[in-house]
Amino acid sequence: MLILLFIAAVPLGSYMMQLSDEITTSFEGQRWAVPARVYSRSMELYSGAPVSSERLVSELKYLGYRKVSQPGATGTWAMNGERLLLRSRPFTFWDGVEPERALDIRVGGGKIKSIMNHDSGKEIDLVRLEPLEIGSIYPRDNEDRVILTPDDIPELLKKALITIEDRSYYDHFGIDPRGITRAAVSTLVKGRRQGGSTITQQLVKNYFLTPRRDLKRKSKEALMAIILDAKYDKEDILAAYANEIYLGQDGNREIHGFGLASEFFFGVPIAELEIHQIALMVGLIKAPSTYNPRRNPENSLKRRNLVLEVLAEQGVISEGSAAVAKEKSLGVVKKKSTGQGGRFPAFMDLVKRQLRRDYQPEDLTSEGLRIFTTMDPWVQKTAESNVLKRLQQLEKQKGLPKGKLEVASIIATPQDGEVLAVIGGRKAGYAGFNRALDATRQIGSLVKPAVYLTALQYPDRYALSTPLDDSKVVLHNRGSKSWSPSNYDHKDHGDVPLELALAKSYNQATVRLGMDIGVDRVVKTLHALGMSSEPDPLPSLLLGAVNMTPLEVTQLYQTIASGGYRSPLRAIREVMGPEGKALKRYPLTIKRTVPAGPVYLLSRAMQSVVTRGTSRYLLSALPKSLNLAGKTGTTDNLRDSWFAGFSSDYVTVVWVGRDDNKPAGLSGSSGALRVWADMMKPLKPSPLDLVVPGTIEMARVDSRSGMLFNPVCGGKGVEMPFLRGYTPYEEAYCDSDYLLAPAPARGSSNQVTRPGRGSRDSDGHPDFNGDSWDNNRSRPSKKSNEGLGGFLRGIF
């Protein structure tokens, strides 16, 4: 007998050793591909922070904080007038842990007035709320999960799992002979199938085996369950089960484990779940689809209440608390995300592109990385909700076909180039063609600031006051037809000061200016601002015959908005490993690529675009005191409508047009500008307060001629900024004389107007060699010496 047993045991033994190895390998290595989780920026709270109560409350709602009357539990808040009490959640950042805190916040007038520790009454300098999770990057098998350690799992959940799924869990050795017998009897006698699987077996089935039902598989499952139970701690097996189990579906995405299910169904971390919520999730295991609380709320409620009854029966919870829990609604939040893009697919798209440069796809879907982005949920949401409204309004107003207008936008910070929001199309929540990143469109007059910025780098020729000739211009190209661009209003405006020519976006004046400076120099400026392509330096470029994406345009305007420091736009700040270790930083970098003085002058002219140019609409839509700067853009036949503008805290680009490139019927100011204003208004931008570089000096000039103000003529003149050493040196002629004046010259052959004139080089460009810069020999020498030095400092 014994010998027989031993003969049978040898092959079985070696089979089990093989299984044991299999289990060891996969259970002790990385058990799951842990998807990367992507977070928004975190809200910083401090006294004086520009956070209105509306904004703070909306942040708390995004984060799933519960409004209560007395915030005692983590993740709850209460508000009474200007006072907000908040029990914040702890969170591990790359640079340390932000502890849980009881906060007493006073908020009013669009600001945090004070912030104190509610327990100690002490003032707190700075608090960082946890960031909002905006998406995850899960692998091709579509399994998404948030891993819980045994300690993370609430006791009640453990007890409920055992009570409902496997009551003798702590007593059996992986399989439960009594359970199996019960199941067998039930099947044989009652003809009803009943599961006799233990939690361990269920884990084995889901984790190691393919879903087939036959005796061989069943035996293997049992053997593996026994081995698993023998080798590992009960608590660890239970945690593995809680992480493995399938609990729901979100499009392609499979919701695995209670960690993710808690976020998915209730929008809160698992630690904050209440009895009725835990019961609901435990009830889901049996049939996640049938009991799906969103799709089949009635089934789900019945199942949940059944679970509650059983828990009370078994003494896990009291009858009283079961009764209370049964009265509660399901407590499920609206579904927030669909598919890979999460709630903010356009922004996630940008994040993924940035990640793709530094990470293999497997790293992103399996290593449990935490990715901290620059996205501001409030900015993103506010922008999204205002865009669609305006588009519909525009379609109605202009009698455009419904649903054809598309939109793209980027909102970034000027000083550090962080992208706060991305609008990829009119339907914000839907992944798809991301126009902000992928639609390359002609930029029209958005190119003009580059033309004027180039000119302003030659202060001996051009200042804001320099009159430009806006008469009809005809350009002859060898071998091709001549080109004669006209103004938007088809009028000639004669001599216009440079500042006004930009403000009004006059094409004729701009073409003359650009041809005089040289298109190749304008291309250089565009590159300095951040353009990546290499367009042919054709005259049509001066009016925006160059294609860019809204993202690229934002880069250009970021450089201008920061006073000439280009910061490569970033969507990610840090990448952290699963254990809280910082893995990679995407640090702030800046580089001065255009000189401060000319950028300052340009920015002043761009403020004139708003105060007296094509964007005056902003004066009525937003407070005048914001001193916003910007530029409209419109392309041929109203195909593209653009606006790019900035305050001190936001640089924002908006494009409106049609995907089929048919005319949209909107100019920059009738389309994109309106969208821009709607998006920016609720953000309450801070006023643009330009820093005056040391290379700037002021002078009072005659506004018509741009010459030095002449008191003899009467009037007041205007105070204008100039590059130091390049203020006009000749006094204006009085009105009657003005027309007879020899200067400024009217540039029939693009002759430069004032003050000095360079010689021509062989290309027909004025000679801009260094020695011709300071050719104002008639000006006081004191100034010119100081000025050249100052100017050179400004340029380099």
């Binding site: 050793m17 053997l223 081995i227 593995a240 962080e418 280009r566 840090e574 254990e579």
Partner: protein
């Protein structure tokens, strides 16, 4: 009876299987382990990431241009567990760690809020502990709160100089001076940083 024998046998074999691993009831390994390859530190030169399409070089930055400061932040500190020792190897580029003495906060005419100030203090202690990357990160956080505070840009320049990122130090110092208004002491300090950064090693 037969079932019992089989069960006994199974248990015996399980024990056997367990014995081969010499630890009968093992605690499983941590739930996840990440490959070293993910870590920035183990790869060679880190490039400054930029946003755009897949291939490098967009946003007007030719390869090799100043943004591609290698190793800019490869010295991501280990989570401060046991030994808060200055990790010299982590600042491999600093080669002696050029430093310019701080411009005192008090000297700065710019007023600073408590939030930014608390971060400035944190950055200072990080810098003193040799965690330069952490200091830079903290200062960047402060800059997000007060983006036009010249002292913060000055400190950022200081940290980058110490890390050996001279180009960036020059840019930050210049930016600081532009925001500095009439704070001559701070401007002077920025000039010193720029001189140091520009001086040949």
């Amino acid at each position: 009876m037969k079932t019992l024998i089989v069960l006994a046998q199974l248990l015996f074999i399980v024990q056997l299987a367990g014995c081969t691993n010499s630890t009968p009831r093992v605690k499983p390994a941590p739930v996840y382990q990440h490959g070293e390859r993910v870590g920035g530190g183990s790869t060679s030169a880190l490039e400054m990431p930029e946003i755009g399409t897949e291939e490098g070089g967009e946003y007007g930055q030719e390869p090799g241009e100043e943004y591609r400061v290698s190793e800019l932040d490869s010295d991501v500190p280990q989570a401060p567990t046991d030994s808060p020792v200055t990790d010299l190897s982590s600042n491999s580029l600093s080669s002696g760690g050029e430093q310019v003495a701080y411009a005192g906060s008090a000297d700065s005419g710019a007023s600073m809020g408590k939030a930014a100030n608390s971060l400035l203090e944190k950055a200072e202690s990080q810098q003193q502990a040799g965690d330069l990357s952490g200091a830079a990160s903290t200062l960047e956080r402060a800059v997000r709160i007060e983006s036009r505070n010249p002292l913060l840009w000055n400190r950022l320049a200081n940290v980058r100089l110490q890390q050996g990122h001279s180009d960036l130090a020059v840019e930050f110092a210049s930016k600081s001076s532009e925001f500095a208004g009439s704070d001559e002491a701070l401007k002077q300090n920025n000039s010193e940083i720029i001189d140091k950064a520009n001086s040949p090693r």
